[in-house]
Amino acid sequence: MSDPSTPVPPPAAPVAVVEPRLSPLNDVHVGLGATFTDFAGWAMPVKYSSDLAEHHAVRSTAGIFDISHMGEISVRGAEASAFLDATLAGRLSVLQLMQAKYTLLLNDGGGIVDDLIVYRTGDDEFLVVANASNRDAVARELVGAASGFDVSVDDVSDGMALIAVQGPAAQAILERTDGLAIVAGQASLAEVRYYRATAATFGDDDVFIGRTGYTGEDGFELYVAVHDAVALWSAITVAGAPLGLVPAGLACRDTLRLEAGMPLYGHELDADTLPVQAGLGRVVALAKEGDFRGRAAIEAGPADGARVLVGLVAEGRRAGRAGYAVLDADGTAVGEITSGALSPTLGHPIALAYVAPESSAVGTPLSLDVRGTRIPATVTPLPFYSRKKEATA
């Protein structure tokens, strides 16, 4: 057979790397027998045993992920909220304390520099979380945009590890994790709602916990000082073992987010794609006052006939993959797949694809060119999978 390809998508832009960067949890992953992949210049675990088993564990119990390669940028100062409103596509000033928002940093053409999660961590303090591949670009753009505002922008990624615990058992696992204590007056894990955060301590150090994720399940992301990462991972693992927690790698993270219909930068999102094409028009707060980067281009809208993101489902077990052509009923190419896999949860192939607007209506019969074989596919609403919502969601 041919050399098996690396199972995780490459970063959006070439990264000049001599030696891969190592997570603060690298020794833990090595000890667990992980298989590693290069992701945006980082050597990160792609799987520990079976990517399918890890995927199913997150859907049924829980998985623990090391996503320390993500970038964290601190924005603080008297004009922090005004600065973010003027720089990012969303209205961040309306965020309440310990609330999070999914937002975008746009370029002058309205294309996407990165998709971000922004937490309000204080009245004049925000934490901007960027994709690993775009961390430097986001930090550079924010620093560049900060002149004229009473604000300081600091890339704090190097001091921070990020551990995600995702799955229906996530809350119970963190509640029984030794040494992890919610700060008095802050929301308990049961109380903290989706896209909200709470503050905890682990030993003598602070842990910031957001109820967010990239899997389509309930779950938390824990921001912790690098020197606490191994101890916190171990404590969570010990607490979670009886509840079915398993270490989970980037391979299953990708199939989980695909099932949940979540875009991946470099696949569904890039510098030439406008948010509305990606189904993210709602993320751009055109109602807010004042200019922000990319506003004029967003208001002008995409070119006539610009392709739009759709979900596609097919039968059988043969998946369409990124780069494969999407054909209409006449066999004319009308689009291209950006992410695709045999859905582990659903048991049939799913794909995200950009297609011509006239081929984008739900129910449109299309086909996928899978290495010369045409596989019938149908446009379907996103997400492909959604969990049964609990009261906290």
Binding site: S2, P4, P7, L52, A251
Partner: protein, 124 residues
């Protein structure tokens, strides 16, 4: 338990077990592990002729696609339907129940690797 030292190997991560003029072909544990969980296998038709070095099938995991090369010239005498029905056999038993095809051949090609060569190649 398969005697791994009795097998031939290719640089394309296939193994070949020779019994008379029939070669049983599979992929190695190294290849199966690199692919990840195999979810789809396409094998050549029984009775068809295959040419060494050409693509005769596909092995797909959740995230990637591997091509199966015929390591020898010959006629396909059997394809493993159990693997088509349950592709996870490629991961769970790559040298045993996860075999892929049997090919009746006239001559083995030059350049096949022995176990030591192969383990040196993959660095294990």
């Amino acid at each position: 338990m398969t005697d791994l030292t009795a097998l031939h190997y290719t640089a394309e991560h296939e193994w070949i077990a020779v019994d008379g003029d029939v070669a049983t072909v599979g992929i190695t544990d190294f290849a199966a592990d690199k692919l990840g969980d195999v979810v789809f296998v396409e094998l050549p038709e029984v009775g068809g002729e295959v040419t060494g070095g050409t693509v005769v099938g596909e092995i797909e995991s959740t995230k990637s696609v591997g091509e199966l090369y015929a390591p020898v010239d010959g006629e396909v005498v059997e394809a493993n339907q159990a693997v088509v029905d349950d592709p996870s056999l490629v991961n769970s038993d790559p040298f045993g129940d996860g075999w892929l095809v049997k090919v009746r051949f006239t001559a083995l090609p030059d350049g096949l690797l022995d176990r030591d060569d192969y383990t040196a190649l993959v660095g294990e």
